[in-house]
Symmetry: C2
Subunit: 308 residues, 2 copies
């Protein structure tokens, strides 16, 4: 049984990319099982040990909204925030930023929407109104020396609006960058996008003069397209890829058990392509199974299943 | 909930491709549940009705080797062999060809190996010796006016030999074509290949002067790479893609529950890319769930799960 892919490196790919691990936040937020804080801290420590360079720790959201992350304050206390180069916390508002600053977090993420319907439902703001809400948070974070990542959700489709125009995605994404975000994560929140669509969206940002180094991609595997879409982004020069260990997380807006792109499946592909990630795949698979036993659900990752 | 992808067609893709459905043969052959012959016939009839243009019916292999397909003769009698343009049967030897000719089959497939180890284990022949075994079968079939597809297995890795040189894949594949096969299906039997590797193998055949129209690709999703690899082949001009409804089938040479590339996930991608397949996706998903209930196992297809 082969446990590593044969390396065949095509020309013109990045030498190295960053996998931005979202399992502890986006993953666990969308799992029905609530995980004890000490298990989350252990999970993050294990993810750091396998070589991941960016791990999103949690979200300082109000506990009533996301009960799975109600222990965010306690978790951030329990975690070594210097374990890997980037350990951001998602913050929805000024109160969240205050908590992040108190906790000594060095990077935050904000969560915007590319559509009116989701801005209304998730943020209780209009599409344009969300920026006024984010502005003091981003400014305050930057003034305190923090790095800010901007998530842009529903970039490839919306469960209420259907298709989302590329021009609208580019326009909302640029506004997040102009507020002061140093990285923009383009989210296919419901997992409907296909590779030509990915090219159109990334091409739209290139046409608008946004450097590809500022873009990250965040694909959900609801329709099995996540890894093909990541490959497409990689070929266009994107070097930051959101993924979750074992494919943790579901999609709250689709009738599906599948969550984020599985980190293992991405690592296998990148290893075969000769693109460095720093991740020890066997150690990652072991961590995924350790977590799967704690939430009582097998991983959605094909690689984790094959290499158990 | 979106039930169809937004169409964004990149330039330089084929207008239309053929999905070669292997669920009834490769899929059911590798499922532990033995399915009654009337259910198989019904499955094939449903697959034909959803718009697939090529469906591999079964294999005229000795029942002792593959008990799941011991009903092959009865099945071929029960199926309308004119239901769709291509309805091949796999034949391992002269006896199989005789049965195919008696049954009125118009296309056969033979199953070769790109590696010495698998040729020995699966065919009891050496890598070179397999061609002497296939020669009279292919010649007999062609003399009788049948079309012949050649499978080449283990093109991207072998569980006993490990890495497989591209030159060896190209050399064995060309020998199958020279025997008289009109199509060559390049199999990643253990699902280890990645996109750069796919480019190298398909590029190897191009360099050897084999027209891309003669190539098909057959990917297993053991390591989650199947759809990315299919996308890579599509971009290189390949127009025939093996897939199985619901991802039916396992890999007998890997510790995995995942089988072939799921037809639904491929159809979703091709629909998003604006590439015609003729397949009605909702009807296909319904057929997959109908079959899943009969074998008592949920489909591995993400799309089938999301669109249930």
């Amino acid at each position: 049984m082969k446990r590593v892919p044969q390396v065949v490196r095509p020309p013109d790919l990045p030498e190295r990319v960053t996998i931005y691990e979202v399992g502890p936040r986006d993953g666990l937020q969308n799992e029905s099982t609530v995980v004890p804080v000490e298990v989350k801290a252990d999970f993050i420590s294990r993810l750091a040990a396998v070589g991941l360079q960016a791990i999103e720790v949690t979200s300082f959201v109000h506990p009533a909204w996301v009960p799975q992350l109600a222990d965010a304050g306690e978790l951030v206390e329990a975690v070594d925030l210097d374990a890997v180069p980037r350990m951001p916390v998602l913050v929805p508002n000024q109160r969240g930023l205050d908590r992040a600053l108190e906790a000594g977090v060095r990077e935050i993420a904000i969560f915007g929407s590319a559509t009116e319907a989701f801005a209304q439902r998730n943020l209780n703001r209009s599409l344009d109104g969300q920026f006024a809400m984010f502005e003091p948070v981003v400014t305050g974070a930057r003034d305190a020396g923090l790095r800010v990542r901007g998530y842009l959700s529903m970039c490839f489709g919306d469960p209420w609006e259907g298709d989302v125009p590329v021009a609208q995605v580019v326009s909302t994404g640029r506004q997040l960058l102009e507020l002061g975000c140093s990285e923009l994560s383009l989210g296919d929140t419901i997992g409907v996008g296909t590779p030509g669509h990915v090219e159109a969206v990334i091409g739209g940002f290139a046409d608008a003069g946004v450097p590809v180094e500022q873009l990250a991609v965040h694909f959900h595997d609801t329709f099995g397209q996540a890894l093909s879409n990541a490959l497409t982004a990689l070929r266009l020069g994107v070097t930051t890829f959101d993924a979750s260990a074992g494919g943790l997380g579901g999609c709250p807006y689709a009738e599906s058990a599948t969550g984020n792109l599985a980190t293992e499946d991405l690592v296998w592909q990148l290893a075969g392509l000769g693109v460095e990630t720093g991740v020890d795949l066997q150690a990652l698979v072991a961590t995924t199974w350790w977590m799967a036993e704690r939430i009582g659900k097998p991983p959605a990752s094909r690689v984790a299943t094959a290499l158990r």
